[in-house]
Symmetry: none
Subunit: 415 residues, 2 copies
């Protein structure tokens, strides 16, 4: 069994200014590959301490990972020190140098000397590509040991682990993987209610079923341990089918499928279009839908109608409706949904109006009250809830409920 | 200056099943006490590895902390191993034993032998009280070194740090000095360019200035170590002023201030209103602005105009402009900004149009190309960039650039 040590580099970690989520992510990926991690270490942006820690790690582990310290600034010492610790030297990688020059010149910026440091790679190594930043990762293989340097920002770190490190190590380790898991994603049912329906399954030790509460949804992780991956996959598939039978349409997707992606998929299948009219969510619903690649085929657009005048002008809400029921009401939510549908000529319209807080609530209409409506050719359905939590949480839960109401309505149509 | 090492104990940390927020919390508390942490280490529930790590830590640091492994189960090895590493022995603390017996009998439970392990304390040490669990912490003082063992669950850990550890160390260190820091947030300037302007300041050891690259912005942390908090605050204020003088309006805020909050503040100061017309960001800009409490006073609303028809209908973009220049063009961005302004009767309008990807790019207009415009009574300004990264990153960076262009335009007006 291969062993690894993970070294996080950054004074901000030692000062407790950021929490090291990267190290946990990597540790999880390694455990799924069957690679043992016996120690994790964090040091500051200090060359001697980093070198000492690397040498110490290389004495005990087959693979040494560093996280952070790959940027262009003087603080970013990992590239040099990792290479030193392997007794290797850096040389320029012309492909990366070329890419960096193009990157900066296409932005009308001069390439600084410090930027070109990012084009240096070890003689016994290579760069790991980083589509989300200018700092490539590094891989060294020398004297039977492996060194891998990864960038610190999670949006660069996670894709590099998933797309570069895991495939490399999978090839390196052969077929060690015998633990498999599948996440079933559930919306519109709370954690306790979901748990209630699968209580007996949660007692089994292989496969296991474990619930994780998220904001506005529940994830159920099904995990199996077997001699072979095929066996584990088969066991998971059977158990997942049983969970789906218990929870029905509440299961909206698997693994990384988001609720907005599930909605876009169902609309696409049926060649249906959507428009939105948002008040309290202020664009969040549109943002979530358009986060999904290909959403432009089904999402025609939306309006963000914070003011009453905008509700009338852009989403055809009659002023007397607002006067009579208030801007935060089921009637106005319904009018917004219908107005969105009409304004964009869409098959489905969603309207959201509510009080996200922290101010603006009253006894009758408290902070967190949100009315949501979905309109289609058959009419309009409105619902409301009072969410608890911060402004961000209320808005997120409102967008979640809106997406799920739409999804359930769309599912009634044959695909 | 005293130095400390933090050792987290737990196989679940090495497997990445939990994120180590405790270590970050403790590190922050220590830095505020002026105690330097040079290394953090994580090991599993393995006696030999823990002992090795403790000995290694005791060679270098004055104070060694352990987090976790104090429970009643066999896995919980920290009490014994920490005591061993100090060459000390455990003895029963009758007060704790009594408290444990009462604790269990009041719950109608038998006291197991394993529970009584939690009543053992080192001869050269004492227990740290834990009102939130049955595992007391431990403190050893021997041969000029200090060992402190803390429980892992955050609801037990945090109160013990606050109520036991910090007062003890404050007394121990006397007035050893304080570390204070301030984060300056910078937009519109890359990490290398920002560093270029403050290179000389980054060489100073007190106060220090260190850059951190974020998506679409840079944070500069100014940190000072002094005998008193007042001294440290004064030193930071002076250094921050110098940094601000170098970077000018690129510094948009301090600490937790977001760019959208800075924009809302500047608009509010001047009683100016804003409207948006978004294509590729699909509501993200509106969402970010409306995330700021009180934004309803300045943000009138927006349109999400994915389709060309919607651009014309909702934001008054002339169809011939789209035909001539394409939907992704500076001309259309400018028309969107002016259209948003006119549609909502706002002082400022923002227009965004681009190709977020992953598909839809061409040689002439690649994925990541985004045109952004800001309109006000004096006219309209447009700019464009080609961002790299995922769809999410391109969209975030586009919203970031739009907010910053607006901010710079608003700053030209007297407040």
């Amino acid at each position: 069994m291969l062993s690894a040590e993970v070294l996080s580099v950054g004074t901000e970690l030692l000062l407790g200014q950021i929490v090291d989520t990267d190290a946990a992510y990597l540790a999880k990926a390694l455990s799924e590959l069957g690679i043992a991690v016996y120690r994790r270490t964090t040091v500051g942006d200090n060359p001697e301490r980093l070198l000492t820690a690397l040498k110490h790690a290389l004495e005990e582990a087959d693979i040494v990972f560093t996280i952070g310290g790959l940027g262009p600034t003087m603080d970013d010492i990992t590239r040099d020190i990792l290479t030193d610790s392997f007794g290797d030297t850096l040389q320029i990688d012309e492909n990366i140098a070329k890419w960096l020059r193009e990157f900066f010149s296409s932005r009308g910026m001069a390439v600084l000397e410090s930027n070109m440091r990012q084009a240096m790679v070890p003689v016994h190594g290579r760069a790991l590509s980083n589509p989300n930043g200018t700092a490539p990762g590094l891989l060294i293989e020398k004297d039977g040991k492996i060194g891998i340097a990864l960038p610190g920002p999670p949006n660069e770190f996670i894709p590099m682990v998933d797309n570069e490190v895991v495939p490399y190590l999978r090839a390196k380790t052969g077929n060690v993987g015998t633990i498999r898991s599948l996440m079933l994603r559930v919306a519109g049912v709370g954690e306790s209610a979901a748990e209630d329906k699968i209580k007996d399954l949660m007692l089994d030790s292989n496969p296991t079923v474990a619930p994780y509460a998220k904001v506005g949804e529940v994830h159920l992780r099904v995990t199996a341990k077997c001699d072979t991956a095929e066996e584990a996959e088969r066991m998971i598939a059977e158990r997942a089918e049983l969970v789906r039978a218990r929870l029905g349409v509440a299961v909206y997707g698997e693994n990384d499928t988001t609720l907005e992606a599930a909605v876009v998929t169902e609309l696409t299948k049926r060649s249906r279009t959507l428009a939105t009219a948002e008040s309290c969510t202020g664009g969040l619903l549109g943002q979530r839908i358009t986060d999904v690649p290909g959403s432009s085929a089904v999402y025609l657009g939306g309006t963000i109608v914070y003011s009453n005048a905008a509700k009338t002008d852009l989403a055809y809400v009659p002023p007397e409706l607002i006067r009579e029921h208030g801007a935060v009401s089921g009637e106005v939510a319904a009018a917004l949904a219908q107005g969105a549908r009409r304004r964009f000529g869409a098959d489905y319209g969603i309207g959201i109006t509510g009080i996200a807080g922290p101010d603006g609530g009253s006894e009758e209409k408290p902070v967190g009250l949100v009315h949501i409506a979905v309109a289609d050719a058959s009419g309009v359905k409105a619902d409301y809830t009072t969410f608890i939590g911060s402004r961000q949480i209320v808005r997120h839960r409102a967008s979640q409920m809106a997406l799920n109401m739409l999804r359930l309505q769309v599912l009634k149509e044959k695909s």
